[in-house]
């Protein structure tokens, strides 16, 4: 039984990692906004996770572990080079094209741009808790900070996002204030089928 144990572990790890790819892509996309840069980031994170597989304990939370790798990668790359304080229009268009629902783009694009106005730590906390399905405790482990810090970041992010959408307070011209929030409300109503 001792023979081939390593490759059996590798195979189990690989399968679990492959199953997480869609989630890594989603985390990367919402974190950095640009679809192409996001896939590069997700691929780097996937490869880093693979290379570090010996240090991963099977049966623990692999999703949280890979998300932690991805966000660390995101911050180290950001420190190194592509600090993008301004919204890159080309990147925004590429991201837009990835959207299928004919009615969703308006609201989703507004949300995407409003997300980019948030400080990185707030955006990250909100995504993990609000979309990634992580508990505050898990998000705190991923971000390497205290649970209370995550909670306050999430609540500040929610308030800031709401305010930005209400005011149209982000880098997009030609869009009257309040329209973004209207689009989001309308889309959310459709989704939940009235309230």
């Amino acid at each position: 039984m001792a023979n081939g144990t390593a490759s059996t572990d590798d195979e189990a790890f690989r399968q679990e990692l492959v199953a997480l790819i869609p989630h890594l892509r989603a985390f990367a996309r919402t974190l950095c906004g640009d679809a192409t840069a996001a896939d590069d980031l997700a691929q780097d994170a996937m490869l880093k996770a693979w290379d570090a597989r010996a240090s991963y304990q099977m049966g623990t939370n692999m999703k949280a572990w890979t998300f932690m790798i991805l966000r660390n990668q995101f911050y180290s790359e950001k420190r190194r080079s592509w600090r993008q304080s301004q919204l890159d229009q080309e990147a925004a268009e590429r991201t837009l094209m990835a959207v299928d629902d004919p009615e969703a783009p308006v609201a989703l694009d507004e949300l995407r741009m409003a997300l980019r106005t948030l400080p990185d730590e707030q955006r990250e906390a909100l995504i993990l808790v609000g979309a990634g399905g992580f508990a505050y405790e898990e998000a705190a482990d991923i971000c390497g900070c205290a649970v209370g810090t995550v909670k306050s970041r999430v609540s500040r992010a929610r308030r800031a996002l709401h305010a930005a959408l209400e005011a149209g307070d982000y880098d997009r011209d030609g869009s009257p204030a309040g329209e973004a929030m209207g689009a989001i409300l309308a889309a959310a109503d459709r989704l939940s089928g009235a309230r």
Partner: protein
């Protein structure tokens, strides 16, 4: 024991309640859209290069051991 608040007497509070409800609804709507944005990407087919990169890394691991 005196019941201080009349459960039917909404009066002046109703405007505040409505505003709070509205704010809550808006926060929920943002939450729904945020999840939708995330789930939309989760639902996309994984580009081939991901599996290709992993396959190559896997082969390196097998070849190296």
């Amino acid at each position: 024991m005196i019941e201080q608040r009349d459960p039917t007497g909404r009066g002046s509070e109703s405007r505040d309640d409505a505003a709070i409800d509205e704010a809550r609804l808006r926060q929920q709507a943002i939450g729904v859209k945020l999840r939708q944005m995330f789930d939309q990407v989760v639902g996309e087919p994984v580009p081939d290069d991901f599996l290709e990169i992993l396959r190559r890394a896997d082969e390196r691991a097998k070849g190296g051991s």
